[in-house]
């Protein structure tokens, strides 16, 4: 198979997606007269991604610099969508970048709400946040742990907790879902569900 230039860039993008993105420092500009004859007003994008919305699985290509998305549009090589995207797919860029700046509603730090509190507080580092969560998980798990249950006078090993539920997520990657299942079952969770059920 002979690779087109675009394909080549994509394959190299695979290896060095971050570097390639960082290399695209062209500033996004509204279309103006200077660009009419020759240059694109911004790069179209070379990093292949798959749309995060419905289950069609359309390909998109992204152009980004270190901290913002410059352009995302359909991947013309993708056999399913052949470059097209719907309104949601065309808005992918706004997941991160709105009007050239970070989407102001994105969460950027772990937050904590204490019992009976009326507000969120920022947890300054991840380690603290995860330490607190792990403590809660362990406490609830240990308190609600069932080695065995008794059914009709017979004792059965069940090794589970009914005290913790895990939900999610049909938007996560396969590898993420797999590790979530692995963690949940290792913890002895039986209340494990996600949006496929509903």
């Amino acid at each position: 198979m002979e690779l087109s230039r675009r394909d080549f860039l994509k394959f190299s993008g695979v290896a060095t997606a971050g570097g390639l993105a960082a290399a695209k420092m062209l500033e996004a500009q509204p279309v103006s007269a200077e660009s009419l004859d020759l240059e694109l007003s911004k790069p179209i994008g070379e990093v292949p991604t798959i749309c995060c919305y419905c289950g069609v699985g359309c390909g998109a290509i992204a152009a980004a610099d270190a901290d913002k998305v410059i352009n995302i549009e359909g991947d013309p090589d993708h056999p399913i969508n052949q470059g097209s995207l719907c309104s949601k797919g065309q808005a992918l860029a706004q997941m991160r970048t709105v009007n050239g700046k970070d989407n102001p509603n994105r969460l950027t730090k772990p937050l904590y709400r204490a019992p009976y509190s009326t507000e969120w507080e920022v947890i300054e580092d991840w380690d603290t946040a995860l330490d607190m969560i792990a403590d809660r998980i362990k406490k609830t798990r240990d308190e609600t742990w069932l080695d065995k249950i008794d059914v009709g006078g017979t004792s059965y090993t069940v090794n589970r907790t009914d005290g913790i539920a895990e939900f999610g997520g049909g938007e996560l990657d396969n590898e993420e879902c797999y590790l979530l299942a692995k963690m949940a079952r290792a913890l002895g969770l039986v209340y494990l569900e996600h949006c496929a059920r509903i």
């Binding site: 103006s32 240059e39 694109l40 352009n71 359909g74 470059g83 719907c86 309104s87 797919g89």
Partner: protein, 262 residues
């Protein structure tokens, strides 16, 4: 060779990928809207909305017709906006569509009145207060680089395609014949209107049903006054007019040449 966009309403599902693609590529900010009892939004074109889809339920229908139509610059050959533009900011690109050089727009707004499709919109800069026109520019930078206009590229069903205008006319006519054979009252809009639009429409009903003007024309007053207006316009932007006049004349000459070549 002239290029054109062909919009086939019979293939359009109104997913509005085109509407967002236009904003995405051209870095146009969203508008704040409200729902007024329709899926259609924003309510009209604006300086930040160069393309919108119309959702039309015929008032006397049986609820089994929902028409979708494109609303954006039609890129006319006989273009009122080009005629009246005193600075040459609005001009015919060598590929036939109505291009726009925002940097030399004087903000006079004559194009707004001259457009039979009510497309150009004026907006004042928040910093300088200076007004500029805004409208669809046919993704001139994309087409110059062998990319389709953003709206066309994103269309999933082939309701929007782009290519040589002659070829688009052929395809549209074939489609109309096919639909007619299936009993649809199909029509081609834009082939001859205003000497030929560079956005062609395949319709399944009359243009009126799609809120398109039947026999659109540039007001005679625009034609009559264009020379006077132009003179006035140049006077108004006298400081920069000298250099721009040259640009304008070159662009104009290109268009004439292209017309003659047809």
């Amino acid at each position: 060779m002239a290029k054109a966009i062909l919009f086939d309403s019979t293939k359009c599902t109104a997913c509005r990928g085109c509407q967002v693609a236009c904003k995405q590529w051209n870095n146009l900010e969203a508008e704040e809207t409200v729902n007024t009892g329709t899926y259609e939004n924003p309510p009209d074109l604006s300086s930040r909305t160069w393309l919108k889809m119309r959702f039309i339920e015929p008032p006397d229908g049986d609820g089994k017709v929902w028409l979708f139509s494109r609303r954006a610059c039609m890129h006319c050959t006989e273009a009122g906006c080009v005629k009246v533009c005193p600075t040459g900011a609005v001009y015919h690109h060598e590929e036939g569509f109505v291009a726009y050089n925002k940097d030399i727009c004087s903000g006079c707004g004559y194009c707004v009145d001259a457009c039979p499709f009510d497309v150009p919109r004026m907006v004042g800069s928040t910093l300088t207060g200076k007004k500029k026109m805004e409208k669809c520019v046919f993704c001139a930078d994309r087409v110059a680089n062998e990319e389709k206009p953003a709206c066309v590229k994103t269309c999933p069903t082939g309701a929007l395609i782009y290519g040589e205008r002659t070829e688009m006319v052929d395809l549209a006519e074939q489609r109309v014949s096919k639909l007619a054979a299936d009993g649809v009252d199909a029509q081609l809009y834009g082939k001859d209107e205003l000497d030929g639009l560079h956005v062609l429409y395949v319709l399944a009903h009359s243009p009126k049903d799609y809120k398109l003007p039947v026999n659109p024309e540039v007001s005679p007053s625009v034609t009559l006054w264009q020379d006077i207006l132009k003179v006035m316009g140049y006077a108004a932007v006298g400081a920069v007019a000298g250099g721009l006049l040259l640009n304008y004349m070159v662009a104009r000459a290109r268009m004439v040449k292209e017309k003659e070549g047809k």
